[in-house]
């Protein structure tokens, strides 16, 4: 019976970083109500303590991650393969930056809960990557969603924040139900919830014609996860939610659900069968191809029409989901050196740095009484806040895909893998990607023009926020560094 004991111990060993994160979450939730009076008053500066505690928790998790080793996939509830290792590193790094962005977003009495929710979300992403079972996968996805609802409403409680929270809540539940529906069919077909068992059982059925149920399962699961990716036609919530959400939450929403969504999509669809009719991937590739093209076009074209910065960035986030879907559609194909998945992972990392950086600059410009919302609020930013204007320009250029930024390398990789993937479908995908990159340039350049060529109209926040400035610095460093030395990231991706 020592087998059972060692199985429990092995499972815990595989998720030590998440245990550290969730222990920090419990600590914060236990201590927070004792430090805040019943009337909601806290000692001034309490948010700094929560910020440092979150950073310590994340650092412990990062240390545990750094000493963890990739292990062969077993029969337990968790796995630690190359992908899980990479995603864990990525989410912990983005978590460190998000804690800094979130530092001053909530007042002292509520700061503890917001940071705790953020840490729980990071733990959820890690567990999505580490899940070895579709039930575990779903629970981990919910561990991202449920703290997100609280996180959306905690820092600010005005009407816009309430609208965005309720919208996200309703649609997120709907998407979870869709995903569960697909998963239940997968379970019904294969008789197991274990991922490796599902692969093996699908492989065993190769010789017979594929039942329609596999198609239904694949389509429903794609629909459920497309919500997380903000892929068209499940993107409708994005602009409203981003507009109403606090800046740190918008930064998190533009990146973290995409990471979890792509990993979950890979886990449930990209089965280990290289070819054959039963592969759910070959079945869903045409669907994903259309999703990628539509997502790119809808995101970019609607972003052209926006007058609110956060709405524009929400549609920009939609279009970037489309770019990343290109990498997913290409899949294992691609150039000799890199596959579509490699290009996707590279772009995902780069996108995290630039999108979190963009929202961090907005957080630095907003005050507790007034937030930057309309694009005209940024008029003449080069005169009022020159350093922030330069940083924001840099992030926007990277989102656009201009040379000397990491966004350029990322887009180039995606273009190359799509072009070389063989077949007309891939080449068309590459062409649409290039066309969209050109359309996207328009609205990013519009923001830059407002910052440099217009005179200041509205006053922007002038208070110094060191934590956010550190976050902006780190994002700039990552965006610049990954252009100069992309091989540093490639080495990590090679382990996947």
């Amino acid at each position: 019976m020592n087998i059972v004991l060692s199985a429990i111990r092995n499972a815990v060993d595989l998720i030590l970083p998440e245990v550290a994160l969730l222990a920090t979450v419990c600590m914060i939730f236990l201590a927070a109500p004792f430090l805040v009076s019943e009337r909601g008053e806290a000692a001034p500066g309490l948010r700094h303590r929560w910020g440092w505690l979150s950073l310590i928790g994340l650092s412990v998790a990062a240390y545990l991650w750094s000493i963890s080793e990739i292990q062969p996939v077993g029969l337990g509830p968790f796995r630690l393969d190359g992908l899980a290792w990479f995603i864990r590193g990525l989410s912990l790094a983005s978590g460190l930056i998000l804690v800094l962005v979130n530092w001053n977003q909530a007042e002292d009495a509520r700061a503890g809960e917001t940071q705790a929710c953020l840490l729980a979300i990071i733990a959820g992403v890690n567990l999505v990557a580490a899940a070895n079972d579709i039930v575990g996968l779903f629970v981990a996805l919910e561990l991202i969603s449920i703290p997100t609802y609280i996180f959306l409403l905690m820092p600010r409680r005005d009407a816009l924040a309430q609208e965005s929270m309720l919208k996200y809540f309703m649609l997120s539940i709907f998407s979870s139900a869709t995903l569960l529906f697909g998963m239940s069919y997968l379970y019904g077909l294969t008789g197991t919830t274990h991922l490796e068992g599902i692969y093996a059982s699908l492989q065993a059925g190769q010789s017979q014609p594929m039942p329609l149920l596999v198609t239904i399962a694949a389509v429903m699961m794609i629909a459920g996860l497309a919500f997380r990716l903000t892929a068209v036609p499940f993107h409708f919530y994005a602009p409203d939610v981003f507009q109403g959400a606090p800046n740190s939450v918008a930064a998190m929403l533009s990146f973290i659900p995409k990471v979890a969504g792509f990993v979950a999509l890979y886990r449930v669809l990209a089965v280990t069968i290289p070819s054959g009719d039963w592969s759910m991937l070959s079945l869903s590739t045409p669907l994903l191809w259309w999703l990628a093209v539509l997502t790119m076009f809808v995101g970019n074209l609607l972003a052209l029409l926006q007058n609110d910065v956060r709405r524009m960035l929400a549609f920009s986030s939609v279009s970037h989901a489309g770019y990343m879907l290109v990498g997913f559609v290409v899949g294992d194909a691609g150039t000799k050196a890199i596959s579509g998945y490699d290009a996707l992972l590279f772009y995902l990392s780069v996108y995290g740095a630039m999108t979190i950086g963009t929202f961090a600059t907005l957080a630095a410009l907003s005050t507790s009484s007034r937030r930057v919302s309309a694009i005209s609020d940024l008029d003449g930013l080069s005169q009022t806040r020159p350093v922030i204007a330069i940083a924001l320009t840099f992030f926007l250029l990277s989102l656009m895909g201009m040379p000397f930024t990491a966004g350029f390398v990322g887009k180039l990789n995606l273009f190359l893998v799509a072009w070389n993937s063989g077949g007309d479908a891939g080449q068309w995908l590459a062409i649409w990607l290039a066309v969209n990159a050109a359309i996207g340039a328009w609205y990013y350049l519009r923001l830059i023009r407002e910052m440099y060529l217009s005179d200041p109209v509205t006053e922007v926040g002038q208070e110094q926020q060191p934590a956010v400035m550190v976050a902006i610095g780190l994002c700039t460093l990552a965006t610049m560094g990954l252009f100069m030395m992309p091989e540093w990231l490639w080495q990590a991706i090679q382990k996947v």
Binding site: M1, N2, V4, L5, I8, C26, F29, L30, A32, P33, F34, E38
Partner: protein, 125 residues
């Protein structure tokens, strides 16, 4: 078949008890017919009128807290029943580990309880 006689008897007693009580209250109970007492009872709500009337959010908080511990009990039952069963159950070597796992599970819920208590959920105000 003998085993089922007892159940049949039980069912008869059960129905008889309920019916007797209903009839007796109907016959013996005092009846003061006021307008409010004549209303159909619907959990304290006015049964006629707009269904979309707001009611206090405190009800939701209590309901959610109740659900948390209800579900906790749901998880505890199978373990409590099977772990120390006289015939079989969990092997003695792993009992203490599993007990530790259950303690971790309950302590996370206890943290939630402390949080709710400190936030004043139990104060009906």
């Amino acid at each position: 078949m003998d085993a089922f006689h007892a159940i049949l008897l039980y069912v008869v007693v059960l129905i008889g008890f309920a019916a007797t009580n209903l009839i007796l209250t109907h016959l013996l109970g005092p009846k003061k017919k006021t307008a409010v007492k004549q209303m159909p009872y619907e959990s304290g709500m006015d049964p006629v009128g707009d269904a979309r009337q707001p009611f206090d959010v405190k009800f939701y908080l209590v309901a959610i807290l109740f659900l948390v511990f209800d579900v906790e009990l749901l998880y505890l039952y199978p373990w409590a029943v099977s772990a120390y069963a006289p015939d079989g159950g969990l092997p003695p070597e792993i009992r203490s580990t599993v007990f530790g796992v259950m303690l971790v599970f309950m302590s996370t819920l206890a943290i939630a309880y402390v949080y709710a208590w400190r936030k004043g959920v139990f104060k009906w105000r």
